[in-house]
Symmetry: C2
Subunit: 105 residues, 2 copies
DNA sequence: CGCGGATATCAGCATGGGTTGATGTCACCA
DNA sequence: TGGTGACATCAACCCATGCTGATATCCGCG
């Protein structure tokens, strides 16, 4: 795994947690599917701010949207989060095996 | 898990991946322990920049340091990465179980 | 059809964090 | 002891991103 600016793991991690409000939204969506109006209510943030963060999550492929009339419900994509968890598990494994190797200076 | 600005999961994720260069450093440290001079060489970044990012990782408890004379080696803490992976696995589980719950508007 | 509600987007502004060059401190060597 | 190398830190600068108020668009209802 060569992590670069375009690495999906880094991008997903930053999309999920790169901002405190967005991390809060993620936590809320992990409890139930919610529409924008609920997220605005729960977080106390302004509507455009909430919409902006939902857009970041949407474009990162971390949420699905389901329009219901005037309301838009968001679902956290468990499969995408699980992929990230797996990738991090792999990183931990590699780090474990990397111990003891000392490159000379 | 109530993710907030102080949440260790969010903080670890951001410390690991919040900047492309830092993510790159993390990937390098997952292959072997390296000293600052190696990381400067491998990444092509300036020394203060590399030091700054190492500091972020250090203060987040994600790397251990081992001074060897004038050289400082860094080790990615596999256990810390594994904890993050576990937490994300839990988040994915919860998101999976959250499907189907629709709060009325 | 007109109005109100939900929300996605736009444009402008402020701030935090990354990068840079300079500096300070410690370790090593002749 | 003095000089050099490694690197942690400092201070200044810049830019990407989050936040705000305004606007546009779509949907539902009387």
């Amino acid at each position: 795994m060569l992590i670069s600016a375009r690495d999906p793991v880094a991008e997903a991690a930053v999309a999920l947690f790169g901002d405190p409000l967005r991390a809060r939204i993620v936590a809320l969506l992990a409890t139930e599917q919610m529409c924008t109006c609920h997220l605005i209510e729960e977080t106390g943030a302004r509507q455009p701010t909430v919409s902006h963060h939902l857009r970041v999550l949407r474009e990162a492929g971390l949420v699905d949207t389901e329009p219901k009339g005037r309301f838009t419900y968001y679902r956290l994509r468990a499969e995408a989060v699980a992929e990230l968890a797996d990738a991090l598990g792999g990183l931990a494994d590699r780090a474990e095996r990397a111990g003891g190797h000392y490159r000379p200076c």
